[in-house]
């Protein structure tokens, strides 16, 4: 009983520390931004892990879906809650924003998952490298498309989300963004964990192992791949929506380049393909690393790939491989291992 409550209590404690600490200004604004990026990166890594880790496909344009989510939700909230040159005065009262900004972020996620569907239909006809090439292309297409849409700022970017956030905090001054990001991160972890431990998710892993055999087990491989891809893209869109409302409230197409997609891939391979807890750890580690290397400026992009090369040499399956925390520390298993594992094997 007490052990079953341990994880929720831990999450709650984290929530209180991060959100409460930020609210009371115990964490300065810099740390709040770091927490925010950690949350975003957790969503990006854990969601990409579904495709690249559990399904064994190779998507390398995760930032494109993030961009779709960011722009769609940003445009919606600015239209609803902010004074804007294009969209005019706010159409809804700011007090509704507390509810409707998360809704806009979710709509951004839906939009991203719809774009994912458009890509998945042609690229899952065959297996292998096609998805990698297509997602790579999509990353460039999305970036160029946004750059050429003058109405949303084109290459200069889109801003106004800060005004939205200001309007909301004027109603009630608590760190809303951190709260939503926290919920988004935890929600992503729970969703992916549920997904991969469901029968449907077992189908995803069977496809990775042997697609023909998976079909012979009754797995509708095309459908399963489609759904998994859409879930993953949708979550990237949610990450993008949160990102758009971050500090400065400003996004531009240059933020969602292949470099951003690479960051997500680095976190997945660093943490271990097919390990949710590994990905969470690597997202935390990677975000902190980026911050620590900030003084190096551009040279951090020399250090980070080097770390990745070393990682591949000495720990090719990533920090955790395909294991979860519970597999590495058995005493934790009762808390958050895979469910069937702590059911005693009947012999």
């Amino acid at each position: 009983m007490s052990k079953k409550l341990a994880v929720p209590l831990l999450v709650l404690a984290l929530f209180v520390i991060i959100v409460g600490g930020s609210w009371l200004r115990i964490f300065n604004e810099y740390w709040q931004v770091v927490f925010f990026y950690i949350g975003i990166n957790i969503i990006m890594a854990v969601s990409l892990n579904l495709i690249n880790g559990y399904m064994g496909e190779f998507s390398c344009g995760h930032a494109a879906f993030m961009a779709v989510g960011a722009y769609v939700s940003g445009i919606l909230t600015v239209w609803w809650f902010a004074e804007d040159k294009v969209f005019g005065p706010p159409v809804l009262p700011a007090s509704l924003g507390i509810l409707l900004v998360p809704v806009a972020i979710l709509i951004g996620g839906l939009a991203a998952s719809f774009v994912g569907l458009l890509i998945a239909i042609p690229s899952f006809r065959t297996r292998g490298d096609y998805l990698a090439i297509i997602t790579l292309a999509v990353n460039y297409i999305v970036k160029s498309a946004i750059e050429n849409m003058e109405i949303i700022g084109g290459p200069r970017g889109f801003l106004g989300m800060q005004r939205v956030m200001n309007a909301i905090t004027a109603v009630l001054d608590i760190p809303w963004l951190l709260i939503w990001t926290f919920i988004g991160g935890i929600g992503t972890i729970i969703l992916i964990q549920r997904f991969v431990s469901s029968t449907f998710g077992k189908g995803v892993m069977a496809i990775r192992e042997d697609e023909v055999a998976a079909g012979l087990m009754g797995v509708n491989t095309r459908w399963v791949k489609l759904i998994a891809f859409m879930v993953s893209c949708g979550l990237a869109g949610v990450a993008g929506g949160l990102f758009a409302h971050g500090p400065g409230g400003y996004i531009n197409p240059g933020m969602f380049t292949i470099l951003k997609s690479t960051e997500a891939m680095v976190m997945v391979y660093l943490g271990g393909m097919g390990s949710i807890s590994g990905n969470v750890l690597s997202a935390v580690f990677f975000t902190l690393l980026l911050e620590m290397l900030r003084p190096l400026g551009v040279y951090k992009w020399v250090v980070i790939p080097l770390l990745l090369v070393l990682m591949m040499l000495f720990r090719p399956s990533g920090l955790m491989g395909s294991r979860e925390l519970g597999d590495v520390f058995p005493q934790l298993r009762a808390w958050f291992g895979k469910e069937e594992e702590y059911a005693p094997a009947s012999n």
């Binding site: 192992e209 055999a213 087990m217 009754g218």
Partner: protein, 237 residues
């Protein structure tokens, strides 16, 4: 009505005419074997039944129902399971997870648990290794797992592709013992084998395939007595 009936099935790989009018029947409760040399079309025949390959001409009927309209994953729900050639186990999943996958098409938890007990009785070795990663099993154990996994779908018709491939002779006998046992418990089996000697010992009837055509169909005893079969497939002069 036969459990399975193929009527003049023609199948192609691109332009290669792999099956040139296969007609055969499998009655409920039987073990029927397809024997023939490499490239005769044995595996292709199984692939057209399980839906991995669609016949360009001709029909496949399961208990009178035309299977043409169903995809491979839907045919599983019709009660046909296949043990693919080279076993096709999920190497990075555990034995238990592989067996779970076998029951992917089912929702009756109680029935699945019963069948799990049943396959563990049939293959006690798998029970010992239930938490082991399947890729680390020996060849014989992997064959057991592939068979057990197919049984987890509780099929009425089991298609087995070369279950003896790559196994030590002592294991081959064991595999064929299990095949008979599965059949005794009521599962109809269509067995593709290069090891004609063993296959004709367990089967009720058999067909001989040569370059995409059935050249002979008879009871297993009849085939064993047939001089052509003896010479070409049983190595007797």
């Amino acid at each position: 009505m036969p459990m399975l009936e193929l009527q003049d099935v023609h199948a192609y790989y691109g332009n290669i005419h792999a099956l040139k009018g296969i007609s055969l029947t499998v009655e409920e409760g039987e073990i029927v074997t397809l024997i023939g040399a490499n490239g005769a079309g044995k595996t292709t025949t199984l692939r057209t039944i399980s839906g991995l390959l669609k016949p360009r001409q001709g029909k496949v009927y399961l208990e009178g129902e035309d299977l043409d309209q169903y995809k491979a994953h839907e045919i599983v729900y019709k009660g046909v399971a296949m043990v693919p050639e080279g076993r096709g186990i999920f190497a990075k999943l555990t034995v238990a997870e592989n067996l779970d996958m076998g029951a992917y098409s089912r929702r009756d938890k109680k029935g699945i648990a019963e069948d799990l007990e049943r396959v563990f009785e049939l293959f006690p070795r798998l029970k010992e290794r239930r938490n082991q990663v399947a890729g680390t099993l020996s060849g014989g154990e992997q064959q057991m797992l592939a068979t057990a996994r197919a049984l987890m779908a509780r099929p009425r018709l089991l298609l087995m592709d070369e279950p003896s491939m790559g196994l030590a002779p002592v294991l081959v006998e064991d595999v064929f013992d299990r095949i008979m046992e599965i059949n005794h418990e009521g599962t109809t089996i269509l067995l593709v084998e290069q090891n004609a000697h063993m296959a004709l010992q367990v089967a009720h009837r058999g067909y001989v395939l040569q370059t995409g055509e059935i050249v002979l169909g008879d009871t297993a005893d009849g085939l064993r007595q047939n001089p052509m079969v003896q010479k070409a497939y049983l190595g007797m002069e």
